[in-house]
Symmetry: C3
Subunit: 397 residues, 3 copies
């Protein structure tokens, strides 16, 4: 007896392969970056299953590779630093083409069918839970589906630039339009950049109102981390002015909000809203680190630009999606009409641009984790945190 | 310091390039058309952003190029006559693949997310505003979304033919099926043709009931023009038997319905319904011309086939979509159940075909504009127009 | 006068061509199968119209070719045995890419827009008519659309294997994930296999709960046959323990449920639910044969795995879709909440797998048809059938 097997399609294998077509590298560009010379930018188009038509752009600075999804609104699918995977294992295992995501389905929760990124934006015209926004200006804007449209909208322009000043910086820039006749006309220009050889990357987003009328903006950076940063007794740290549980269920965990359970089948998600302290330049930050304190993931951002920070704890079983979210935002992920009433839905005048900047770092030593934790402690020293034990206004509606 | 930039994706640039793969031209066909020998038909597949998977077929007769979108139900994306662009600037800047258009979204107004054509069909089983058609034969047919499905349905057969009789005619023919089990089974066969060297093109559509039961048909040609034809003091002309404002807001503008404002931020759309006069052969027509009267766009059609003419005025800011619609139709774009009650939803017997024919011309001289305006005046001479100052039956429900 | 025609796109012609890229055959594999050496597996990607992006894998065992659609959840588009087409003519003429199917549309009946297969699965988390499942665990699971999601979900892994033991077996295996965060996490692994030179094929499906919580499963094999098996006076045969009409309309036809009308314009579908008899090994079967009794299509399956058999009679006009469905299932296609109440929605524990196996045969001689009919008669001899003349519990809610 003999047998033979041929594999026609294997999306998992495709995704394990890290490269694609090289767009530019030190060899091709003749630009030697002082920070590291093993940098490159490559692209690949996926053709299999639910990922058919999804493009991945890999920005590699040497030790760090950031995988960007222009097809999914310039979201960051995942990253890898040295051999440490940065991201989480969603039950949606593969990058999902937007055409497989019906935002209306599952009672307006269809966004979840495509959700598996390290970072995806919730917005731009709306985010938060689904429902009917009775205060919207028209039926075109009143139908709210979970977390908005931008993460399932494809970039129409993508470019790469390399700058050799200092250690050298590699950037990928994308433009995504969330526009419609008689509705919002918002353009996202996102630039993901990384210094050669560094342990981090920066996102600078500019959202412009392309229309002739004022328009509303909602934006939250759903930044999602699983193992090996998240584990039992992992810690979340941030400099707190005020903190508030999202709901009664989160209130039950208020004493422990900074500490994580191991994967826990049946765990029901908990979320906490924060008003963070910032330094003299207005910068704030947050850190997740593992139990041993030798692996961490941090985010820094301008508190003026992103005044609302949300912590999402979702430490369910690994196979259900063991994850926590560090989510700087313009708003909290309450229903849009509530956020509007609470004064957290800014309006952009025609031609105006809202700018955000966030820097992410991966820490792979106790020293590096300690340095960030120390900075958070120093900021905290300036003020006693107010921890609300129950949902209160203005955090909650 | 040195830097380097690479563009990975640029949909705007792709769309600015006018050619693609040549399907046929004088050289390839060995057919020299008397009207002009610089004709060609080319095709291209777009791969970027929201246009990924959209095919464009360019029919070029020499001075005039008509860009057809088989992927979007044989709609006419845009045209160009000599150097004059014919179309408008929708906030949806790019041809949108149907899979990015969820007709149900935005409270049934999702069709707007893909709307940017010079000409798109509203139909075939239904058009007009969204809602629940209580008089429909089944739940499969009762859910009405804005302007129907045909503009977001892809052609399964496309062919080109060249005929050298007379000045020579170039034609692109496409078949699009709007069918479903237990529901309507309508086939559109559309032929877009143009005489070599001419300033116009003709659309002949045949819609056939492929099913074994009678079925309803709604069809309106949403023909949309912006600058440089539309501008402040541009004029709309047609030979009027009766005219009627669509609603109270349109009634406010009844005295000025034929004259246009310049781009006007905040302008709220107005629509007018017409019963037009026709010549002895049954042909009627309408004209839009610029303020100086030296640029115009006209449409001629058979008033028997297309008895309902709608004028759509949408002179909002250019960045919001400054546009007017000249819309011959089988019906007015009222809610389908109302149109049915008013006797304007024809039923096709099994195997029956409804045929329409429309001719569009671009006028780039005062003489050419005057000739059409004169023809309209001559037709008007036969009857005093009845202008209703308020919405009345049978135009409005 | 001269003219010239070029075809740019012709999906019908593409689909008439039976081959694609050969993946493996006797020549390439060097494996000579005793049953037949004219076997092969080929694949092709469709690029036209509504089929753009749909992959077809043809499993050919010599006389029989089975066309599998990995892009449509490993459904069987059609088969051909010698020169006999096996399948039906849906008004949806072409394989429809899932992105053209909005399951929510048409009041939750949008699934019909893509339905044209010989065999498609209804499930996995739900099937049956649309509605709101008030007993669902969350809003993510309460929105039920017709016949579920699996038939419009693409396989992420597809492989072929050839085994030369016995007459030799050719298999195509695909994996399809129906998963979402906070919802069901079901994986289908389907293996379609056929013995070289034989008149049939087998489907073995394994559905595994990939999540950490119990989850529900619904599954029905919508197996659809038209001409030349179905015709006036064609017969349906099965070994009946109990039979029950689905509704009052089906009850009107109860005396004739096993006999078919010729194509009948205006025929309204009728469905019958069966509890079938099985042999000592638990195997049951059903047969459709033509009027002359010399062409038949049969299905065998394990009654323990698939306890609910539904017969769907839809003998409307050929152009509307003249078809009958032989539908083994875990459940009857009643509304999910009703099936749950009636105890027919199994729950899978974390990691558990539900296994089904079905064998289909095409019979092209009176002898072959008679043999199957005889086997059904023999099984029927063991028990008097109970034929309910009206809908009754527990078949109907």
């Amino acid at each position: 007896m003999a047998s033979q097997q041929s594999v026609l399609t294997d999306l998992s294998q495709t995704l394990r392969e890290t490269t694609g077509t090289t767009v530019v590298d030190a060899h091709a560009a003749g630009l030697h970056l002082a920070g590291n010379d093993q940098w490159s930018v490559s692209r690949r188009m996926l053709h299999e299953g639910p990922s058919d038509g999804v493009e991945v752009v890999n920005l590699c600075n040497g030790p760090l590779t950031v995988s960007i999804l222009p097809t999914r609104g310039m979201g960051i699918w995942k990253a890898e630093y040295r051999d440490i995977p940065v991201g989480w294992n969603s039950p949606n295992r593969f990058p999902v083409h937007p055409h497989y995501v019906n935002l209306q389905s599952r009672n307006g929760l269809g966004w979840l069918d495509g959700f598996n990124e390290l970072l995806c934006r919730c917005g731009l015209a709306f985010n938060g839970p689904p429902g009917t926004d009775e205060d919207a200006v028209s039926p075109i804007e009143s139908e709210i589906t979970l977390h908005g449209r931008i993460a399932n909208t494809a970039a129409h322009h993508v470019s790469v630039s390399i700058d050799d000043s200092g250690d050298g910086t590699i950037s990928v820039r994308g433009e995504v339009d969330e526009t419609t006749l008689f509705g919002p006309k918002l353009r996202l220009v996102s630039t993901v950049s990384s210094v050669a050889g560094s342990n981090g990357f920066t996102i600078v987003d500019e959202i412009t109102n392309m229309g002739a009328a004022e328009t509303e903006l909602q934006l939250l950076y759903h930044t999602n981390i699983g193992q090996p940063f998240l584990e039992g007794n992992a810690q979340f740290l941030c400099p707190i002015k005020e903190a508030c549980p999202r709901d009664a269920h989160a209130a039950e965990g208020i004493d422990e909000f900074g500490r994580y359970l191991p994967p826990t089948p049946g765990y029901a998600e908990q979320a906490y809203f924060f008003d963070l302290l910032a330094d003299d330049r207005g910068e704030s930050l947050a850190l997740l680190h593992n139990a041993a304190g030798d692996r961490g993931f941090s985010v820094r951002f301008d508190r003026q630009q992103l005044p609302c920070f949300t912590l999402w704890k979702c430490t369910q079983a690994e196979e259900d999606g063991y994850v926590t979210g560090l989510e700087p935002g313009i708003n909290y992920p309450n229903f849009k009409a509530d956020e509007r009433r609470l004064g957290r839905v800014p309006r952009l005048a025609p031609g105006d641009t809202y700018r955000t900047s966030l820097s992410f770092e991966i820490h792979d030593s106790a020293e590096s984790v300690s340095a960030v934790a120390g900075r958070i402690r120093d900021l905290q020293a300036s003020a006693e945190p107010t921890i609300h034990r129950e949902p209160v206004k203005p955090f909650c509606p």
